[in-house]
Every structure is written in C-alpha cells, then in structure tokens.
Symmetry: C2
C-alpha cells in the first residue's frame, strides 16, 4: 500500500507539503495541489488519520447549520446530532440560519475561523459554488450539491407516493398537496414528484399549492390553508409536506366545520412528536430522524478521519396511519 512518503517522492516535495495539501493549510498553489492529487490517485494512496492530523489542530467541534432550531423537525434532528457527536467526543456549534442567505454565509466564515472540523448543513439558501468553496468536510441534509459532497436524505419520493396512495385508497376525489418551496433544489421536492406521478396515474383531480420560501412562518401557513379551502371547497383529501402544515389544515377544517376524517382526510410528513398531541391524531409519513442524524454525524467524522464515504445516503420512510385518514 502506498504511503504519504511515496506520494511526496513521486511529486518531488516533502511529506509535510503533502500533508498540508491533504489538510488544506497554508498557501498552496493550484498546480501543486493538482500534482499531489494526481500522484495520490496514481498510487492509489488513501490518506489516513495520522497524516491528516499531522498539521491539523483538531477542535473536535462540528458546525451544525439548520434553518430553525425551534421547528420541531430540526429540534429533534439537532438533539440526535448532538447525542451522536457527544458519543464521539465532538461538540456542536449551533447555527440557526433563519434561511437568511447573508447569515448562512456569515456563519460559514465564522465556522472556518473557529476551525471547526466539519459542517453538517441542513439549511438551504446558498448556491452550490458557495458550498464547494468551503474546503472543510461537509455533509448535507436533503440536498445534492456536487459529485464530491455526501448527503443524507429520507426517501421523500417514496413518502409522496405512500401518502397519495393512502388518500386515494380511502376514497378521496379531489386531493390537494401543500408543498414546500419547489424552486430550491431540495430532495424534499421529490415528495411533490411522488404525489404528481401517483395522482396522474390514478387520474384523480388535484391541486398543488406551494408554500413560500420554506420559511416556517406559521401565520403564512394559516393564509395558504385558508385560501386553499376558499378556492377549492370540494377538496376532500390533503397531503401536507410537513406535520406543522397538516396541523394548520386540521385547525382550518375545524374552523370551517369540516369533519376530519369524514369530510376531509389529512396526512402530514415528518413524524414529529407534535402529531401525537393534536386531535385527531395525525396520520403521517415518518422520517427516520434519529437515523438521519446518526448517518450525518458518521459520514462527517469518517471524512474528518480521512475515510472514503458513500455519497448518496437515502433512508427509508414509514407510513403511520392514525386518525386523520
């Protein structure tokens, strides 16, 4: 097996220089970086933890960038990320982006300055180039960024299919889907694709309303749901792209005197604890939040330790049939 010394000899530089390239420390010309990486490839050299650590002063801190820690999905996600990180002696720097592009960028430079060992990115507003220039081990949630950045995601497409099929099987004749932002290139968007493919195949009338910039603004959901039932009073099935939105649908049904599930059937997405507390208990597509967190942390730490990781990590969802369908 090739060693870092072999790589250094092949390029004609010192071991220290190769290590600096591996850890991206100090000034390094593009040409040098290219030559080192080519030599590594030719020799099939796998950097090991020791080599990576040679120049690296580890902080044992992971940056976690999420849109809103008070949103139940992200609260549960952060809890599990923290648990897994703690087990591996890592700490979590919490960055609440509020889906504000400027704040996200600002946090990324703060995280670099704090020399975090890596970033778990669960927020979405940045462009791909801004991500790829991060130069730190990175794992994204629900977002494919480039060929090199690993991501973790639930099987949103399958979830969209399961939710839609359930509403059809229960006899709904006009089904609404309240989607997240479809312009952001999020994998969550495939919930919409799953809905569309299924509903078109079944030939059932349908309507799609899109929530604005994924901003978790509760009063905005209120308006969107009210508008939906005003414009389409004959909707008898709703697939909401989050449990929080589904809870809003239940509230509006109650206000309008529509009985759930008799008059309108409702299914959410996420499987957060909130769903158990609302009445009637919410049917939903459960994301494996703990597994998503566990996988994210593992992929990040593996990268920090110089291991190769799998790029695509899609985890299964589960249909929970409760009282609203």
């Amino acid at each position: 097996m090739a060693t870092i010394k072999d790589v250094a000899e092949k390029v004609g530089v010192s071991v220290t220089t190769v290590s600096r390239v591996l850890n991206n420390r100090g000034y390094l010309s593009e040409d040098l970086k290219r030559r080192v990486h080519e030599a590594m490839k030719e020799l099939n050299y796998q950097p090991n933890e020791l080599a990576r650590s040679l120049f690296r002063k580890k902080s044992n801190i992971i940056g976690l960038i999420i849109p809103d820690i008070s949103h139940p999905f992200f609260g549960e996600f952060a809890k599990h990320v923290e648990e897994q990180a703690y087990k591996n002696r890592y700490k979590i720097l919490l960055c609440n982006s509020q889906l504000d592009n400027k704040k996200e960028l600002d946090y990324i430079s703060m995280l670099k300055a704090s020399q975090v060992d890596g970033i778990i990115m669960g927020s979405h507003t940045l462009d791909t180039e801004e991500f790829t220039s991060i130069n730190l081990p990175l794992v994204t949630l629900d977002r494919q960024l480039s060929d090199s950045i690993p991501y973790v995601s639930a099987d949103h497409y399958k979830g969209g299919v399961l939710a839609t099929k359930l509403l059809i099987r229960k006899g709904c004749r006009k089904i609404a889907h309240i989607s997240g932002n479809l312009k952001l290139h999020l994998l969550a968007k495939t919930r919409y694709d799953g809905f569309m493919d299924t509903i078109k195949k079944a030939g059932i009338p349908h309507v799609v309303v899109e929530t604005d910039l994924n901003g978790f603004k509760y009063h905005e959901y209120e308006q969107i749901v009210a508008d939906l039932f005003r414009d389409h009073p004959d909707v008898d099935g709703v697939f909401a792209s989050s449990d929080v939105i589904a809870a809003q649908v239940l509230k509006e049904c109650r206000r309008l005197g529509k009985k759930v599930p008799d008059d309108v059937k409702v299914i959410g997405f996420d499987g957060i604890k909130l769903g158990e507390f609302i009445t009637p208990e919410l049917s939903t597509i459960q994301q494996p939040i703990k597994e998503i967190a566990k996988t994210s942390v593992k992929l990040l730490i593996d990268q920090i330790n110089g291991k190769e990781v799998q790029r695509e990590n899609i985890l299964p969802v589960k249909l929970l049939e409760k009282e609203t369908t």
Copy 2:
C-alpha cells in the same frame, strides 16, 4: 478610581499577576488569589474589560447547557439565545444534557477546555458546588445558585396564582396540579407554591401529582395523567406545569370521553407554539421566552466584559385564556 496597578502595588505583585488572577489563568496559589481579592475589595477596584482581556484569548463562544433541545420550550429558548448571541458576534456551543449528571459535568469540562467565554446553564442536575467551581462567567435559567451567580426566570409564582385563580373563577370544585420535580431547587417549583397558596386560601379540594425527575419522558406523562383520572375521577380542573403535560391531559380526557372545557378545564404553562395547534386551543401561562433568552445573553456578555450585573432577573408572565378553560 483604583486601577489594576494600585491593586498590584498593594499586594506587591506585578500587574500581569493580578490580571492572571482576574482571568484565572495559569497556576495561582489560593493565598495569592485571596490577597488579590482582598486588595481589590479594599481599594474598591472594578476590573475593566481591558484588564480582563489582557491574558484572555477570547473565543467568542458561549456554552448553552439545556436538558433537551427537542422539548419545545428549550427549542424556542435556544433559538432566541442564538439570535441574540449572533447579533453580538458570539456563537453557541449546544450541550444537550438529557438531565444526566455525568453528561453535564463532562460538558462543563469540555466547555472549559474549549475556552468558551461563558456558560448559560438551563439544566438542573448539578450540585451548587459543581457550579461555583466553574470559574467562568455564568448565567442560570430558573435556578438560584449562590449570591454571586445571576439568574433569569419568569415569575413562576405569579403564574401559579393566575392559573389557579382562573380555574377557581370558572367554577372548578376539585383541582389537580401536575407539578415538575419539587426536589430540585428550581424556581419553577414556585408554580406549585402559587397554586398551594391560592387553593388553600379558597378552601377548594385539590390534589398534587409530581412528575418524575423532570425528564421530559412523554410516555411517563401518559401514565401519570391516566393514574390521576383513575384515582380522582371527580377532578374538574387541571393546572399542568407545562403545555406538553397539558396536551397529554387533553388526550386523556378525550380517551375517557370527558369534554373540555365542559367537564374538565385545563390550563398549561410555557406558552409554546404547540398550544396553538392542539384542539381545543390551550389556555396557558405564557413565559416571555424571547425576553428570557435576551436577558440571559446580555447578562453573560456583560460579565464577560467585566461589567457588574444584577443578580435577580424575574420577568413577568401572562395569562392566555383560550378554549380549554
């Protein structure tokens, strides 16, 4: 006004040594520390930011220790702490203690090693001595620790009084209070005191059940609430010490066929978003979560900057009468 130089001259040491005492850096004998502190007191010397920063390499990181980030109250609290910290260019290290004594202690030593500038402590299992040995700027949530550590808290006593008075005014004849852990010396315990003082004065039959170690175990709440109505089927008013527990009461009432608010009136505590989503909408005592977070961050940063801060910080609560009372 006395300067650091005056203190140094009085003790007969260098300015650097006094600064080291102020910042608790390097080896310092107990005798030296005592002499410096005595001289400071005699000269009425107030350390200023510059003196404190002389030996201090600021990390601009605040440690936030809370029991459970996925609990809605702490999720909302953490969100606001992050927002306020960010405005002041501080980052948040998130420590989820799970109310595990070992994990809390472990986090405190991790936080010291990471050289955080201060700690906001919203978790509760540690003993007072363990806190006072922290030697970092500290602010606690809902807990009085010592004469020197500032704390922030909502006016829990007033909240207990308001909730109980409302149930009495609405005609309840046997009122239950589901309290948090009464053995921990938390200020939240004064919700119970407010309940007891009010209910005794009114001479109304009552029952108190205590949840176990404040552990946010949802299935445990389920059992406690089921036991309450089995043992006291004539309870017609419940004051729950959190909205999450109140939601569990509503679930159980529904299971037992008891109508809310006709048969049983229910009021919670916290004023989290969850309350708006459950039906009927939950009456509650609202804590000013954003203000609590804002005050905590301000008190901590003021201490980091060497300012004097007020020790007791009690913020007002608000009665929100919704549909369950």
